[in-house]
Homo-oligomer: 202 residues x 2
Amino acid sequence: MGAVTEDDRAPKQDRSRVTRQRLLEAAVACLAEHGWAGSTVSVVAERAGVSRGAAQHHFRTREELFTAAVEYVAEERSAALRGLFPEGAAAGADRTAVVAALVDLYTGPLFRAALQLWVAASNEAQLGPRVAELEARVGRETHRIAVELLGADESVAGVRETVQGLLDMARGLGLANLLTDDGARRKRVVVEWGRLVDEALR
Amino acid sequence: MGAVTEDDRAPKQDRSRVTRQRLLEAAVACLAEHGWAGSTVSVVAERAGVSRGAAQHHFRTREELFTAAVEYVAEERSAALRGLFPEGAAAGADRTAVVAALVDLYTGPLFRAALQLWVAASNEAQLGPRVAELEARVGRETHRIAVELLGADESVAGVRETVQGLLDMARGLGLANLLTDDGARRKRVVVEWGRLVDEALR
């Protein structure tokens, strides 16, 4: 009996997890393309090919769906970034390549989606505290990855702020890419700041 | 006769200019506080204490009012910044103080208003090209001021990108200040990067 129940349950749980992931990915794409005003649970459910009822089973509110989506995709991107440099700068990874990969975190649909959410949260009391908390959590995790991959020793004065400023720059580059393709300029800035960061961390 | 007409016209022009300025300032404050969705010509007219008809005499469309407002306030802020360092770094101004003042450009209501406008423009076809053009114009002017005040010699390789990256960092710091008061962290980052930029430009 026990074995049969396990067998029954496992595929059902798999299906549920797959549905959830599809909803989260569709939510980020929707937010990036249409902004907060154009992003509802219904629109996302349709995009994910999931019934509205199933979507509401997973996420009770619009706020819950979209904050969970940004967090999920941020975690996926972080894991992918760690995968690019499995041993980090401590093991000889090129710091300028790490800087370029960190900046890349802020130029895709995830950053667009997060930006839409932040700006909506600055005007909507309901969304504000939830998004501020999410932003702090994702920010801490990104900082941790940056320190690790850059092989930065934060016990040295100024190193923590050097890394933070680099991530602020990456965020600013993401913003500059919002309305026009800023790729050519960004590439040149990343080369120069990669060099400055590498020198500062030596 | 000519003299009388001149006398009549001058105060009328002054009143018109004052009305226009009040509308532009109210538009930036409104956008910063309520976002694009909550910002209409009527709301701004009321905030400025101007009739809706008078507001529409000055600005025919909502898009025209808000883009003109961000440009006007950006010009005011640029002039104020130049006023702080009348002779620039070339004449011995402290570069770290210039860096701090540049970052300050991105942490007040003007940046909040501009951010609301950029994000709205990324979702609204009507607004997109107008805001992209405005952003490019304001960005060029800010870059020009930064080069001037930092005493940066752009004929040296990498200097242009150092200054651009600094302004990208300032923009990213502004974004980090959107939902929570990030002042304490920002101050430490500005001190460290002020030092790094000063070294890079020597």
